[in-house]
């Protein structure tokens, strides 16, 4: 009789281990698949919209990092943060080449997190009179604070 009880306990223990194992495995499978959501896409779209506003307003063309930063803080939802690097080039008529002029860095108010960082690129031009004064390439990072 006591041997029967022992076997029964062992049986239940093994059964429980199998059930818990399956549950644990299922949890791992679901968790592993949880990277990459539509929120991440929204980050890139949001950054794209912000950069477009800055370009349309002419703020980017100022190449003034503090002005750009303050404008971003005005229009960016408080849960997000953006940093950007702008490389500016002049056109040399003689050599017909683009000559590197300077780099403008705009940092976010928080450090970039170890979470998803959306990235993008955009070009813009600055005019002087009826001609383009310089050409810029902007690269941005956007993340959730």
């Amino acid at each position: 009789m006591s041997r029967k009880g022992y076997v029964l306990t062992l049986d239940i223990t093994i059964a429980l281990m199998i059930v818990l194992g399956v549950l644990f495995l299922s949890a791992i499978i679901i968790n592993n698949a949880q990277t990459g959501t539509f929120l991440e896409m929204q980050q890139v779209r949001l950054a794209n919209d912000i950069i477009t506003v800055l370009d349309e307003r002419g703020t980017l063309q100022s190449l003034n990092s503090s002005l750009i930063n303050s404008t971003i803080q005005e229009i960016l939802p408080s849960t997000f943060d953006i940093s950007m690097t702008i490389k500016t080039y002049d056109y040399d008529i003689g050599s017909q080449n683009f000559i590197y002029k300077n780099r403008t860095k705009v940092s976010g108010v928080t450090n970039e997190t170890d979470r998803f960082i959306g990235q993008g690129k955009r070009t813009f031009v600055k005019f002087s009179g009826t001609g383009v004064a310089n050409y810029s390439v902007l690269e941005y990072n956007v993340w959730v604070k």
Binding site: I51, G120, T123
Partner: protein, 283 residues
């Protein structure tokens, strides 16, 4: 004893089925989320391409506005063009060509195709009305040509601030009726001459009206099927600021857009299997 054994087997089978169901659910969820990840990666790639395209659209629009000398916007069902005729030869082609080189040098996998050279040609969609400059941007002439008839009619309002328009009613009276071409010459008030070529009679058809009180505005109505070309010209070459509104009367609710025909932006993000080809829209 037998009954107890059967019960145990039943419980074991039930537990097994529950476990399999949970595992299956996890696998299905995993596949579903993997699909979401794949789709969101592709959509992110499209967004990245869109970010590049959006920058190119803005830059080209500024080049058209600053170097081409035409400020273009869309207001309701109207495409609005503001420019000064006779302001001198523009460096539009050179500026656009430089921007193309810059874009293709500094943005990987991006290509700007320019459909035409030698002047700014624009197309008003969806009616396919060409807005062109036969003597080049900064020249004396604007020409509007209807390319298709997927509209009921379109109206052209030309404004010249300061009352520099001629009295169009007098001009219209000198036209022989019957042709399909209408030329309107806008000149400075110093020389109040006017000229229509062709035999389309805007006066008899009632298609042309002018604000004779201030002499600031001409309105032209072109019904579908009449193929009326409209030429607006600063004949004295003294420089006339003109605002041209092209208002479409179309059956659909499609908003007008102004594009550069034959010009495309191609962004090829091959790593993501995404190629985005967009026409160059300037308004």
């Amino acid at each position: 004893m037998m009954v107890k054994g059967k019960k145990a087997v039943l419980i074991s089978i039930s537990l097994l089925i529950i476990c399999l169901a949970i595992l299956s659910y996890a696998v299905i969820q995993s596949d579903y989320r993997k699909n979401i990840v794949r789709e969101s990666t592709e959509m992110s790639a499209i967004d990245r391409a869109n970010s590049i395209v959006s920058g190119v659209q803005t830059s080209v629009r500024k080049i058209v506005s600053m170097s081409g000398g035409v400020n273009i916007s869309v207001n309701g069902m109207s495409a609005v063009f503001k420019e000064t005729l006779g302001s001198g030869a523009s460096n539009f082609d050179e500026q656009l060509s430089r921007y193309k080189r810059f874009l293709e040098t500094f943005t990987d996998k991006t290509n700007l195709t320019i459909g035409n050279s030698g002047g700014l040609i624009l197309n008003i969609l969806p009616a396919n009305i060409a807005y062109t400059h036969p003597s080049g941007t900064g020249g004396q002439t604007i020409k509007l040509v209807a390319g298709s008839s997927n509209y009921s009619q379109y109206d052209i309002d030309a404004f010249v601030p300061g009352g520099k328009l001629i009295d169009l009613a007098k001009c219209a009276a000198s036209i022989t009726p019957g042709t399909k071409k209408l030329d309107i010459i806008i000149i400075d008030a110093l020389d109040r001459s006017c000229e229509y070529s062709g035999t389309f009679d805007p006066a008899s058809a009632g298609y042309v009206t002018a604000n004779t009180t201030t002499n600031e505005k001409i309105s032209v109505t072109i019904p579908a099927g009449t193929y009326g070309d409209v030429i607006i010209e600063d004949i004295n070459k003294i420089g006339v600021a003109v605002t041209t509104n092209v208002t479409l009367l179309i059956s659909s609710w499609t908003r007008p857009a102004v594009v550069m025909p034959g010009a495309n932006i191609t962004v090829n993000l091959s790593a993501y299997g995404v190629t985005d080809i967009e026409s160059v829209m300037v308004a």
